[in-house]
């Protein structure tokens, strides 16, 4: 909760269509204070449209958005107080230097951030290139400048769209470290990404959007916990073990994986199965639960709907 008690970001029943295509179809989102909130979805799922609506750049056909309790559709620029970020790649005036671009954005915020320009350029490691024209910057440098320009507003809610796009591996590591640090300092972060590993590494809560609809919203840990447990089994007699497992009706999605079998079952079924395997004279060298990856959960959620 913020000082005024309102959640940092909230969307209710957001809907937007382009001609016959429904880009966003009645989505609900809630980002709580302190969240690092991952917004995941395949290309064309409606992430950017949703983010544009949330920042007041696009009007929804239906639904309401709130930033710290204020409506970005009707209360701009006040609704953006305490909010900063960018949708898609951040863009700047190519004929101005990085520093002048920052001065411009600081002025457009009232000028208070001007005194922090050097500090922020240092933070995103652009101080040495700050007097060069942005037209000569790489995409990664523009991403970093985008973050610096966002931080000029000293936001409580930071909205980032694919912030590691165009960064080299060291840059990606540094950017993720910076996001973690900012969140650690109390900033709420809304992070749109198609990089599942990035979301898994950084985020505490996620929303997964597919074909304009939210197919999951909640804690990442709960998403993992909600997944049906998959087990990996290795025995002294692979073929006999397969027959025993196949004969158990509570075992699902039985598959061979090299010299092991994988299947989905609840804990009691696994206990019963292990007794039957031992009773049949088989030696069990491994029977281990496998944690579902975000990637597998993501595909389960998005492909089941697509299909």
């Amino acid at each position: 909760m913020s000082a005024n008690g309102a959640v940092p970001l909230e969307g209710r029943g957001l809907r937007r269509r382009y001609g016959h295509v429904v880009a966003v179809d009645g989505i609900d989102l809630t980002v709580h204070a302190g969240d690092i909130y991952g917004f995941l979805g395949p290309n064309g799922a409606g992430k950017t449209t949703a983010m544009r609506i949330l920042l007041g750049l696009l009007r929804p056909d239906a639904g309401t958005a709130r930033l710290f309790g204020r409506d970005p559709q009707h209360e701009l620029p006040e609704a953006l107080e305490g909010v900063a970020g960018f949708v898609e790649t951040p863009h700047f005036y190519p004929y101005l230097s990085g520093r002048t671009n920052m001065e411009l954005f600081a002025a457009f915020d009232g000028g208070d951030g001007r005194g922090r320009i050097d500090e922020l350029l240092e933070l995103v490691e652009l101080r040495d290139r700050s007097d060069d024209r942005v037209g000569g910057y790489s995409q990664g440098m523009r991403q970093r400048l985008g973050l610096a320009v966002s931080l000029l507003r000293d936001p409580k809610l930071l909205i980032l769209d694919e912030p590691t796009n165009g960064l080299d591996p060291a840059g990606i590591r540094d950017m993720r470290g910076l996001i973690r640090r900012l969140a650690g300092e109390g900033m709420t972060v809304f992070l749109s990404s198609h990089l599942l590993a990035e979301v898994e590494e950084l985020c505490t809560r996620v929303a997964i959007i597919n074909q304009g609809r939210i197919v999951y919203e909640g804690a990442l840990a709960e998403l993992h916990a909600s997944a049906a447990p998959r087990y990996r089994l290795r025995t002294t007699d692979h073929e006999r073990a397969r027959q025993i497992c196949a004969g158990e009706p509570r075992v699902r999605e039985l598959a061979g994986d090299g010299d092991a079998l994988t299947f989905i079952a609840d804990e009691q079924t696994v206990v019963d199965l292990s007794r039957r395997l031992i009773g049949a004279g088989l030696g069990i060298s491994a029977l281990v639960p496998e944690t579902a990856t975000l990637e597998s959960l993501f595909f389960q959620l998005t492909e089941s709907q697509t299909g």
Binding site: L55, E81, P90, H91, Y93, F108, G110, G111, V149
Partner: protein, 273 residues
């Protein structure tokens, strides 16, 4: 946080214009035109003596800028104005900077007001460059001598100089109206080329209409006619009717597209990359 104002947007629009080569190409062209005029006349006997105040050329340098202005008013001034005003919003769309500035603390109305004021400033800078270059090159070539006005009365050089500045002000008003239409197209089309060409066609279409339609009542209320409104200042006694008409007709031609531009800009969606 102290809130940013329209003045903030205006200052930064000027700074952006000052950082772009295109800005100087327009102003440089305006400054170069009178110099070229003098050079060409130095190598030939004739001259545009039929143009308003043209009969003063070779006798006094004061009239040069206004004669050049008459030629510029047919095409060039509108083109250079449209080049900047037509681009001022559309370039932010094309460069995807609009979504960046619209998520800051300035209101949309302040941003567009800043851009409009910057376009007007550019028009004034353009005409000032033409006048100053015209006066300097004219004075060097033909001296600081009295002017024979459009009523064939001689007026002192100093009086004519003062009237030249006033004439420039009257000429600027319809040119601002061209800029207003270019800004409207810049907002509506989100495409610089379409806005620039559209504004130019708009200005030229009024010229063509004025030439084709022989109804004074209609012709006097076209924008093209207002570009000649300053002629009234160079008559004895001063003929105020075209001057005043240039101001109020141009004001309408400015207000309507600007109102439409603001209405659109305040409500419009910001499209993607």
């Amino acid at each position: 946080m102290s809130g940013p104002t329209t003045l903030t947007a205006y200052r930064w629009e000027l700074r952006k214009l000052a950082s772009q080569k295109r800005t100087y190409i327009g102003i440089g062209a305006a400054a170069l035109l009178p110099i070229l005029f003098v050079v060409v006349m130095a190598f030939q006997k004739g001259g545009p003596y039929d143009a308003p105040l043209g009969h003063n050329l070779r006798h006094t340098g004061i009239a040069l800028a206004l004669v050049v202005l008459t030629f510029a008013s047919r095409f060039g001034a509108q083109l250079v104005t449209a080049l900047v005003a037509g681009d001022i919003v559309a370039s932010e769309d094309a460069g995807n900077t609009l979504k960046m500035i619209l998520t800051r603390s300035l209101k949309r109305s302040q941003i567009l007001a800043g851009k409009t004021l910057a376009s007007v400033t550019y028009v004034i800078a353009l005409l000032t460059a033409l006048l100053v270059a015209g006066l300097v090159s004219g004075l060097i070539a033909w001296g600081y001598n009295p002017v024979t006005n459009l009523s064939h009365e001689r007026i002192s050089a100093t009086h004519a100089l003062g009237l030249s500045f006033a004439a420039l002000g009257v000429f600027a008003v319809p040119l601002v109206a061209v800029a207003a239409f270019a800004i409207f197209l810049s907002v509506a089309t989100r495409n610089s080329a379409a806005a620039i060409v559209g504004a130019l066609v708009y200005a030229l279409a009024q010229e063509a209409l004025a030439a084709l339609v022989h109804l004074d009542l209609f012709k006097h209320y076209l924008l093209s006619d207002q570009l000649d409104g300053w002629h009234g200042l160079f008559q004895t006694p001063t003929y105020w009717t075209p001057v005043i008409r240039a101001i109020w007709v141009s004001a309408i031609f400015t207000a309507v597209p600007l109102a439409a531009a603001f209405a659109l800009f305040l409500r419009r969606d910001v499209a993607g990359e």
